[in-house]
């Protein structure tokens, strides 16, 4: 099995992975980082979104070996110690979740949207959430949370 060197949430690690192992399974099963979820497993729902070199990607549609030499950030890596990330804070303040299953992917997507798009408006947020599904249909407060975080 190939050895990969990956930095996950600021921590360098060197480990063997099976070629066909998906990044999401590496994170959840090998690293015990179970905040990243498997929802649809078919690149539709976005529950598995993590950051690869600071950009949002679907970890169910990427091999762990593709992350060799790269930096990965998961939902576990965005808070600063006990201080929540501003986007996490906004999701709490505005009740941007119902069952919470889509929340890690939503927050990772939201951080990416806010990084890329200055002067966010509601229409843009809704368009940018194209790749994230909330089966509770709680989009209203998710959008509200992202706009609030963007304006902080």
């Amino acid at each position: 099995m190939p050895t990969v060197n990956i930095n996950v949430n600021g921590q360098d690690l060197s480990t063997e992975v099976e070629e066909r192992q998906l990044l999401v399974h590496f994170l959840r099963d090998d690293m015990d980082l179970t905040g990243t979820h498997v929802g649809c497993d078919t690149s539709q729902c976005g529950a598995c979104v993590v950051h690869l070199e600071g950009k949002a990607v679907k970890s169910c549609t990427m091999l762990a070996v593709q992350a060799n030499g790269k930096n990965i950030t998961t939902i576990e890596g965005v808070a600063d110690g006990d201080n929540l990330h501003p986007v996490q804070e906004a999701f709490r303040d505005h009740h941007g979740l119902q069952c919470g299953f889509c929340t890690p992917g939503m927050i990772m997507a939201a951080i990416d949207i806010i990084n890329r798009k200055p002067n966010l408006d509601e229409k843009t947020v809704r368009e940018e959430l194209e790749g994230n599904l909330c089966r509770c249909t709680g989009y209203q407060n998710i959008v509200k949370s992202i706009l609030a975080a963007a304006n902080k």
């Binding site: 070629e19 066909r20 690149s43 593709q66 997507a109 940018e128 194209e130």
Partner: protein, 265 residues
């Protein structure tokens, strides 16, 4: 998915060597189509050759009258490139309409055209902008490149290196995306050059992307809504599925063409 050997390479020579050595090797660029296909066990390559680190494929060049885009450039990189936004804005907005932001961060232009999905967006840009597809063996005109459903002129072990798009006077791409997948249910790319207007259509034909000659002739004669309205796509040979039957899809193509022309006058 079935297991495979994974090879990450840095040069085209290494890609060629690995493809020659293994009968069932496949190229991995962004993997946004290949990995889902492998997960479903619809593809089971023996070796995956990861070309995402090949520096010489990762560029966008302004050649004055044309732009050349390396095959590993992602959809996000095309949509956010100042060169593309300034020279062919419709190409940047086409890239921004593919899939979703996460898919656009990984998926590549080379992967899209080599796959030639009949509902993909980039093939229309290639046909409409008289693109030349450069491979490790030759240069292929877009018109000769896209052959049929998921079929291209690429031979075994032929690798897409870059795509050169001619810069039009103006151009517009309009698509009606499938609300779930964002693939085009109908997409029409209209490009205006000095002496001709090119019109390419995706998402509609049972044979994949095609140049809509009747519409090209009408618009080359005079770029007007009236001329566009006079031309209707026949529903013969147009795809029919649970999302849209042939007549509905053909009508969608007419409507997308009108919207594209509207943007240009």
């Amino acid at each position: 998915m079935y297991n495979f050997i994974y090879e990450k390479v840095n040069t085209i020579e290494e890609v060629e060597k690995l493809l020659n050595e293994s009968e069932e090797a496949k190229i991995l660029a962004g993997g946004q189509t290949l990995i889902p296909t492998m997960k479903q066990r619809l593809a089971s390559p023996s070796t995956l050759v990861d070309i995402s680190g090949v520096e010489e494929l990762n560029f966008i060049n302004d050649n004055g009258n044309s732009l050349t885009i390396g095959s590993t450039i992602t959809h996000h990189e095309v949509s956010s490139s100042d060169i593309v936004i300034n020279k062919i804005p419709s190409l940047a907005s086409l890239a921004e309409g593919i899939g979703d932001p996460h898919v656009r961060n990984m998926g590549t232009i080379g992967g899209s055209i080599a796959n030639n999905d009949p509902t993909a967006d980039y093939p229309t840009a290639c046909l409409s902008l008289n693109a030349k597809i450069k491979t490790n063996k030759r240069e292929i005109n877009a018109e000769d490149f896209f052959i049929g459903l998921f079929e291209t002129a690429l031979e075994e072990n032929e690798i897409v290196l870059s795509i050169e798009f001619n810069i039009p006077k103006k151009s517009s791409y309009m698509k009606f995306p499938n609300p779930a997948s964002r693939y085009a249910m109908a997409g029409v790319y209209v490009s205006v050059f000095d002496d001709t207007v090119n019109v390419a259509v995706t998402g509609a034909s049972e044979n994949g992307v095609f140049k809509w000659i009747e519409m090209e002739e009408a618009l080359s004669d005079n770029l007007s809504l009236e001329n566009a309205k006079n031309i209707k796509l026949s529903s013969e040979g147009v795809m029919s599925d649970i999302h849209a039957d042939s007549a509905y899809r053909a009508n969608l193509v007419d409507v997308m063409a009108l919207r594209a022309v509207e943007n240009l006058i």
